[in-house]
């Protein structure tokens, strides 16, 4: 099957007119995207990560037919986003800024009904779908059937916004920071849903977030974008392997004795921090920590120390993020 989203050498410059005086003005050019390439397949969630101003929203907007790129190509569900915008629009569900984008004097359900009509759902399908989505996102418990939108909390709006993106059961979902500002249960609910949509229903999801923990949980693949360019991409695991930060054994031991001597006998690089009540906190750097882990633990026990905790620390996605977006943070 062909990819759900294909992006080739996509570039976008914003031109902002700055007025200096009544007669003079100059145009400032912002390079939002400098030629990015990627694909998203059906059945996977791809995370678009990057610092503020990296070009994530710009990418989403181009794919959602809301912004024209300057050069390059983009295809969604097999259609060119510029030449065939109409066909693309039949096949996408979008979620943009969460706080805005609804009618304040309508209830949550009425808002969904309005957009269902806009997306061309007939009356019966519209009702069934809205009933289903309201239950799915637990909006019924939050009062979406009778509360006016202006009385909605941010989390309710986010859920409603996701419900709208799912109204037409589109095969491609473009979600820009869907969990921004949500409480943990709401964010978790949305995360679980997004994963299920891709893995169980075979949808293609492009997802932006600033939450690394979340990105790691939700995304099958990650695109790290920085200053309008793709800085790195791969599965979260692949990305972590690519940064030079060595993995670390973090071990806390309790007891009296020459800790440094034991460590030297093992021939490893280490740092020791002595803490209160005779606990030493040790960090051992090694290319392959699992090879020495057992030795280290055994040696300390044999020397009469008590192991308080011991684990291998992996670089986090946050380390990856910071490594690849260096210079712009």
């Amino acid at each position: 099957m062909s990819s759900a989203i294909i992006v080739r050498n996509l570039a976008k410059r914003y031109r902002v007119k700055k007025r200096i005086s009544l007669l003079r003005s100059h145009t400032e050019v912002i390079e939002a995207l400098r030629g990015i390439d990627f694909t998203v397949n059906y059945g996977e969630v791809v995370g678009l990560l990057g610092p503020n101003g990296a070009g994530k929203t710009t990418t989403i907007k181009i794919l959602a037919t809301l912004l024209l790129p300057d050069s390059g190509e983009a295809y969604v569900a097999g259609y060119n986003v510029i030449k065939n915008a109409g066909e693309v629009r039949k096949r996408i569900g979008i979620m943009l800024t969460v706080e805005k984008g609804f009618y304040g004097k309508l209830t949550g359900r009425e808002n969904l009904e309005y957009f269902a009509a806009l997306y061309g759902l007939d009356r019966v399908r519209s009702k069934d779908r809205i009933d289903y989505l309201i239950r799915l996102l637990e909006l019924d418990k939050l009062g979406a059937d009778y509360k006016l939108l202006e009385e909605f909390s941010l989390g309710m709006k986010a859920r409603l916004s996701l419900a709208r993106a799912l109204l037409s059961d589109a095969p491609v979902l473009l979600l820009d920071e869907p969990t921004l500002g949500l409480d943990p249960p709401s964010a978790r609910r949305i995360r679980e849903l997004v994963r299920d949509l891709a893995h169980k229903e075979g949808k293609a999801v492009l997802y932006t977030t600033h939450n690394m923990f979340e990105a790691e949980l939700v995304c099958d693949r990650i695109l790290l974008i920085n200053k309008g360019m793709i800085a790195a991409w791969g599965t979260p695991q692949e990305l972590k392997m690519r940064i030079p930060k060595l993995r670390v054994i973090a071990i806390n031991i309790k007891g009296e004795g020459r800790v440094d001597r034991i460590l030297e006998s093992l021939g490893v690089k280490y740092e020791i921090k002595s803490e209160e009540n005779s606990i030493n906190s040790i960090r051992i750097h090694a290319e392959r920590p699992e090879d020495v882990f057992n030795d280290v633990v055994r040696k300390f026990i044999a020397s009469g120390f008590e192991i308080v905790s011991a684990r291998i620390e992996e670089p986090t996605l946050e380390d990856v993020f910071i490594y690849f977006s260096e210079g712009s943070l």
């Binding site: 912004l67 024209l68 004097k105 997306y119 061309g120």
Partner: protein
Amino acid sequence: MNIPNLIEAEFKLVYGEIFRRRSALVSMIIYPYLFAGFTLFFGYTIGSPGLFMERVGVEPVVFMITASNMVMSIINTVDDVLWRPLHDAYVGTLPYIIASPINKLELFIIIPVPRLLLLLITGFTSIVPIYVLHYGLNGVVLALTVISLTTFGALTMSTLGIIIAGLVHTVGESWRILNVVRPLLMILVGAYFPRALMPFAAYITSMFIPSSHVVESIHRILLGDIGDVYLLLALAATLALVYAPGGSRSLLYWEKKKVSEGVKTS
């Protein structure tokens, strides 16, 4: 496409906004009276009712209440299509509308319908009683005719309104232009100022506004001269149809312009 569905959705949206905002509802009901009242007041300060009868040939109170209703309905159509994109941009629904597969011309033709229906009802509370006072029971028939024609006139305005909306909104700070366009249309439609009395340039311009012909036909009916009324109505309908492709193009142009600048999402 499912036009009935869309009409229903628009009705719910507009009525939600009107009936859940008490001030909007109240102003909707008292507006025609205020409007007519003010114009009558100013009219009397300028000249006598007798002079008005001599010039225009219609009882001033009847003329003014009719004119208020016509202007409100006609301007409503134009207003709704002109302001809606601004409102949608403001509340942030615009990107979802643009990125939806809806036929935008259909949507914009439907947009003014719900409010127009409400205005139709206010016609019953404003025109009917005044006409009955002046013409007796015959006034009911006359009033119904005038109300239906007014509605028709308002509907013929949508395509031209859409052309204007599409063009105006491609410019930055378009509401400034709207503030000029609206009163101009209000005058040129000829409800308060019969077309026959307009300067030549204004007269010619008004010929291109579909509802101005409906307004003139209503004036003729009030004067008891119904000879060319059908012709005028046909002319209005034809003009409205002639503007339809232009409306579609204008909306397409507007959408293109928005997308090339980037539809604001925050």
